[in-house]
C-alpha cells in the first residue's frame, strides 16, 4: 500500500473521517430491525423462546460474516485467495461457513428451548424452534456470503481498506436481513 494510505489509516481524524459517515448510515439500517422488534413485541413477549432466539438469529449473520470477512481480507492481502466462486480457498470457506450456520442454528434452537422452560410464558416444541432457526439461518448465511464477497471485492477496487468497511456493512445488513427473515419464518411457522 502507498505511504499516504498507510498514514491516513492511523490518524484519529483519518479514521473518523472514513468510519463515522458509514456508521451513522448503518445505524439507520439497524433501526430497521429495531422497528421489527418493537412492532412485533406482542408476539415475542408471549413466547420467551422466540425472544431468546432473537439475538442469535440477528447476530449469527454478523458472527459468521465477521469471521469470513476477516479471513478473506487477510487471505487476499497475503495472496492466498481471490474473491471468486471458482477459487478453491474461497469455496472451502463458503462450505465451512454454511456448515457452521447449520450447526449453530440447531444448537441455538435447542438451547433457547431449554432456557425458555425456566421463564414464565408459553412454551414451544423444540422441533419447531430448530426448524425456525435452521430456515432463518440458511437464508441469512446465503446473504452473508454474497455480501462479504461483494464488499471485499469493491473495497479493493476502490482502494478502501476492507477491514474498515466489510465487517460493519455485513453485520448491519445481516442484522436487518436476519431480523426480517426470522420474523417472517416465525409468522409462517408459529402463528399461521
Amino acid at each position: 500500500m502507498s505511504d499516504e494510505l498507510v498514514a491516513d489509516r492511523w490518524t484519529l481524524g483519518g479514521i473518523l473521517h472514513t468510519t463515522i459517515p458509514v456508521l451513522l448510515a448503518l445505524s439507520v439500517l439497524s433501526m430497521g430491525s429495531g422497528l421489527v422488534l418493537e412492532r412485533m413485541k406482542h408476539l415475542f413477549l408471549s413466547y420467551p423462546a422466540l425472544l431468546i432466539l432473537f439475538p442469535v438469529m440477528i447476530g449469527l449473520g454478523g458472527t459468521l460474516g465477521s469471521l469470513l470477512a476477516s479471513r478473506l481480507s487477510t487471505a487476499v492481502y497475503l495472496g492466498t485467495a481471490t474473491v471468486s466462486f471458482r477459487d478453491r480457498a474461497m469455496l472451502a470457506n463458503i462450505l465451512a461457513v454454511v456448515g457452521l450456520a447449520a450447526t449453530a442454528s440447531i444448537v441455538a434452537g435447542l438451547g433457547a428451548g431449554a432456557a425458555s422452560r425456566f421463564l414464565p410464558g408459553a412454551v414451544l416444541p423444540l422441533s419447531t424452534l430448530v426448524v425456525v432457526a435452521l430456515m432463518s439461518s440458511m437464508v441469512l448465511v446465503g446473504f452473508v456470503i454474497v455480501t462479504v464477497m461483494a464488499v471485499t471485492a469493491a473495497a479493493y477496487r476502490f482502494r478502501i481498506d476492507p477491514d474498515d468497511v466489510a465487517i460493519p456493512v455485513v453485520t448491519n445488513t445481516a442484522d436487518i436481513v436476519g431480523a426480517v427473515t426470522y420474523t417472517a419464518v416465525v409468522l409462517l411457522v408459529v402463528s399461521p
Binding site: 422488534l37 440477528i58 447476530g59 465477521s66 465487517i167 431480523a179
Partner: protein, 190 residues
Amino acid sequence: MSVVREAARIYWTSLGVVLISIGGYTVAGVILGEEGMRQAAVTMPGLLLMVPGLMAMRGNVYGALGARIATALHQGLIEPRFTWQPRLVVAVAASLVNGGVIAVFLGVAAWLLMVGGGQAASLGVLLFVSLVSTALSAVVVTAFLLAVLFIGFRHGIDPDILNGPLVTSVGDIAAVFFVSVSVMLAGVIL
C-alpha cells in the same frame, strides 16, 4: 488442496468459538427475555428499538477495531502488548468516539421514531440508557478484545478467527447486559 477437506479444517477450527458465541447470544437472549427486561420493554417505549443498534456496535465498532488490530499484528505494526503505542491509542480512541456518536444518534432516533409513530417516549430515559450502556460496554469489551487478540497472537492463534465470533459475542452480551443495568439505574435515578 481438497475443497471439502480444507472446508472441514476451517469448520473444526472455528466451531468452538462459533458455539461459544451462540452461547453468548443465548445468554443475551435470556437477559432480554427475563421478566425485568420484558417489563421495561413495555414501560419504556423505544427501548427495544435501540437494542439491535446497541448490539450492532459489536460489529461496527469493536469488530472493526479487532480487524484493524488483527491486520496490524499480522503486518507487525503493533506489538501484542499493553504499552503506549501511538497506533493502538488512535485505534482505541476512534472506537470510543464512534461508540459515543452512535449512542447519541440511537437515543434521539428511537425517540423520534416513537413520537413520530404517535407513541409517547422519554428522550431523557432513552439517551441515558444508550449512553450509559455504551460507556460501560466500551470499557469492558475493548479491554477484553485487546487481551484476547494479544494473548492469542502471542500463542500463535490467528487473531482473525478470535476476532469474529469470540469478540462479537462478548460485545453482544455486554451490550444487552449493560442495557439491563442502565435500565435498572434509570429506574432508580431518573
